[in-house]
Amino acid sequence: MATGVDSPGRAQIGLKTARSDRWWLAPLRIGVILLFFVVYATIRIFMNKWYWVDEFHYLTPLYSPCVTSSCVEGSSHLGTWFGDFPRFVPFSLITFVILAGFRGTCYYYRKAGYRSLFFAPAACAVPEPHKTYTGERKFPLVALNLHRYFFYGALVFGLLNVYDGVQAFHGKDGGFGIGLGTVIIWVNLVCLWLYTLSCHACRHIVGGRLKNFSKHPLRYRYWTFVSKLNPKHGTFAMTSLFTVILTDFYIMALAAGWFSDLRIIN
């Protein structure tokens, strides 16, 4: 029996969609960006090299914190927690799980992924190709409700990134210095924090779960602040995705010796 817009009783229009605009362009564009990031991040975490520039103390966010004994000298700010990982295991595994988990369960990326990668639906009023649909009620998608735990993890990693950012003010002679890498790292930090603080789980935790704001004026102020950032969460999500790639690529290029850092001070 026909289902969806062709279900019995509904207007039999004979078109899957009557949309005449280029509705496919946005999901295609987002899908390409997401796939590019997935491929780039996968390659990078399995490379296990070119993540630390000792001369200027630049550490890429994809490998922060570096806590195995395989990490190159100077990159283990938090000490060494683990011995050598087998070669096929990325030693930024913890970072990858938390950050990929935070983005993978993020409400914005869920929308982007459902539209661009799963076509559920690709665009509004465009039929999805799936015969059945159960949403986020069953395993594994029900686990997306754990977004808040990845948010907590992202907060911790955000603080570690700030520490890395402070370390990046390192000059050639060992004193204070600023280079293009420092600027890129701090631009990335700002974008990452805007993305993290504008998160829907953050908005809920700081005050959204309350019934009476009047009894919690401080939390109401936090909630109001996050609520101002929240409408731009999608913009921050995509911007920070690009800045993470840019930061990682720049540090990889410096570490590999493809070019040298443009120094502003020392």
């Binding site: 039999q12 229009i13 009557a18 005449s20 605009d21 509004c124 986020e136 009620r137 808040r148 959204g208």
Partner: protein, 250 residues
């Protein structure tokens, strides 16, 4: 300045129908509903169309214009090129009655399934006290004009007729969120949202927000906060434990 607009309008009923082509005069400043009325007045006196206020406040003239769910009275003709064919069809999620008129009783059924505001047992009518800051968040949802465009565009029921029984749709999940955020509502809305109204079906693709003529941020301000509240109650072991220890309701 007038021109002859090319229109393709669906004509038919639940037994069948087809898209028919018309050329209708379009004048400056008009909206799609004006042209549909002119079509009705000059060429198709038997064409069925539901409308009322012509001001985007009654929610009657919902339809799909070039495939997108819209109010006909709020869709300006100057958003189309003069030689562009404008396709007007009825909403495709609900059973059609005739031409552009659909049977939206599914929504009334779902509305009845949401229990009304339940005040605390120790308060009598006239004793309700609350502050503006506590109610203003959910006042956004009161702007809803019940045009049901969000229900129409939601793929959960648009593409899967079988989900209609267990999914209330964005409009009524927003109503549940409104009540759950109400400072004096004492009913359990969180379990009901997930178990009876099918909040878990929602995959937050935001089409409901995209089509809302009142620009209510349905997904960001109602559905996602409600999902987080449900996560508190049903999926977060730490919140659950904290509430048990402090012996307070979630």
């Amino acid at each position: 300045m007038s021109y002859k607009g090319k229109f393709r309008v669906w004509r038919g009923d639940s037994e069948g129908g087809e898209l028919k082509d018309y050329e209708v005069e379009v004048n400056e400043g008009e909206v799609v509903l004006d042209v549909i009325h002119r079509l009705q007045a000059t060429q198709t006196p038997d064409m069925a169309v539901r409308w009322n206020c012509k001001a985007g406040k009654c929610g009657s003239c919902s339809a799909e214009i070039n495939g997108m769910p819209k109010l006909m009275c709020m869709c300006r003709m100057n958003t189309f090129e003069e030689d562009e064919v404008v396709t007007v069809t009825p909403m495709r999620t609900f059973p059609v009655i005739r031409d552009l008129v659909t049977d939206v009783s599914f929504n009334y059924q779902k509305a009845r399934e949401v229990p009304a505001f339940k005040p605390p047992a120790d308060l009598k009518p006239g004793e309700y006290r609350m502050q503006q800051v506590d109610v203003e968040r959910s006042q956004e949802f009161r702007k809803c004009i019940e045009c049901f465009l969000c229900q129409d565009t939601c793929h959960v029921i648009r593409d899967h007729e079988e989900n209609k029984e267990s999914f209330s749709g964005p409009r009524f999940l927003m109503r549940v969120a409104e009540l759950d955020m109400h400072p004096l509502d004492a009913a359990d809305r969180q379990n009901a949202a997930q178990d009876q109204h099918g909040l878990g079906f929602c995959n937050i693709t935001k089409c409901c927000t995209e089509v809302c003529p009142e620009h209510i941020k349905i997904t960001d301000n109602a559905l996602i906060p409600m999902k987080e509240r449900v996560a508190d109650r049903k999926y977060d072991p730490i919140v659950w434990l904290g509430n048990k220890i402090r012996r307070r309701p979630a």
